[in-house]
């Protein structure tokens, strides 16, 4: 803990990297197990704040837990290389058996249990991380609402956990899973997503009782929010997290 004024008393954890999984050349999962036996509890959608020791300082960076609380340990974080991203560069250098320190879990973009209305998840690339445990949670809920996932990426190998999600779609008739792959750039990808959102959930009918959970990178997330709220969906029924 810091000795600076205002330093909190949050518990910190030490975790060992039990396993590393590369989804693609630039996308990786780490599977973490707490070293000292004290285990954090979390709600689907939460993240941990990892201490990243750099040359002259320690920075704190958030990484969403991509696995389900129901599965316990090891728990999984997933990340991809980003230009100038010192945090992920450091994480990519970690090896199995290395240890990391973190606090949390934290987060306001969470889903404890499904609403009774149709639930729509929209995710892009690694931002499927919070959605994956949310999906698992709502699909195990009986009776559960209709659930849809629109998952977009610039490349097929950036659609993470695809086989798992497709299995869920086959075994849960209330769940529909659709993907968008568009490699014409980030803006074009979000333009495609927004076009689909408008076509499916704005123009198609007058139902405004759906609930949305949106997670992605950049201002496109806010544009999706604005489209949905502007179309008449309840403000609190449109939840989002912008990375």
């Amino acid at each position: 803990m810091s000795g600076e004024p205002g330093a909190g008393r949050r518990p910190s954890y030490q975790a060992r990297i039990e396993r590393i999984l590369d989804h693609a050349q630039d996308t990786r999962s780490l599977f973490l197990r707490i070293v000292d036996g004290a285990r954090p509890r979390w709600t689907p959608g939460m993240f941990i704040s990892i201490s990243i020791p750099l040359a002259d300082e320690t920075r704190v960076r958030p990484y969403t837990i991509a696995s389900s609380p129901e599965d316990g340990e090891p728990f999984e974080i997933v990340f991809n290389r980003v230009t100038g991203g010192a945090g992920v560069a450091w994480l990519f250098e970690r090896k199995a058996e290395d240890e990391i320190n973190f606090t949390g879990p934290f987060g306001a973009f969470t889903l404890e249990r499904a609403p009774e209305r149709e639930l729509v998840f929209i995710a892009e690339g690694t931002a499927i991380a919070p959605i994956r445990p949310m999906l698992r949670r709502v699909l195990e809920q009986k009776p559960g609402p209709p659930v849809r996932l629109l998952y977009a990426a610039d490349r097929a190998d950036h659609l993470l956990f695809r086989n798992e999600i497709e299995r869920w779609a086959m075994t849960h008739p209330q769940f529909q899973f659709e993907t968008i792959i568009a490699d014409a750039g980030h803006e074009a990808l979000y333009a495609r997503i927004i076009a689909e959102v408008k076509r499916r959930w704005v123009a198609a009918d007058g139902d405004r009782t759906r609930h949305f959970y949106v997670c992605g990178v950049g201002a496109g997330v806010l544009r999706i929010r604005d489209v949905l709220r502007g179309a008449g969906y309840e403000r609190r029924a449109v939840r989002y997290e912008q990375w």
Partner: protein
């Protein structure tokens, strides 16, 4: 010079920071010139679990004085504040509230708790 007086609900001694908003950023987390930026840049800790990216409420502060000297809250900040415990009409996220007035006199209270953390468990 602008000034922020920081009160801690935890009972820690209050702190006072004097600074020139034009010198921002003071470090790298949060909006440049935000309360979080100013505090961290002057070695006063304020929780910012998401790295100051407007993705949690751990930097929630209650502005006791000088609310109108801060930048306007965005819809995204308001959405997050909805989920902050102890929300007040003058609540802000430290990472988003930018001190815009060079002569601002601001007083903030740092709450003790946040709902963004789930307590640890040793018995599972």
């Amino acid at each position: 010079m602008a000034r922020i007086r920081i009160l801690f609900e935890s009972g820690e001694p209050k702190q006072i920071v004097e600074f020139n908003p034009a010198d921002a950023p003071f470090q790298h987390d949060g909006q440049s010139g935000s309360i979080l930026d100013v505090l961290l840049g002057h070695h006063i800790h304020l929780e910012h679990a998401c790295g100051g990216n407007c993705a949690c409420t751990t930097c929630h502060v209650i502005v006791k004085q000088g609310y109108d000297k801060l930048s306007e809250a965005s819809e995204q900040e308001e959405d997050l504040l909805d989920r902050a415990p102890g929300l007040t009409p003058t609540s802000r996220l430290g990472c988003q509230a930018v001190v815009e007035d060079a002569d601002a006199e601001i007083v903030i209270l740092v709450p003790r708790y946040t709902i963004n953390q789930v307590s640890e468990s040793r018995d599972e």
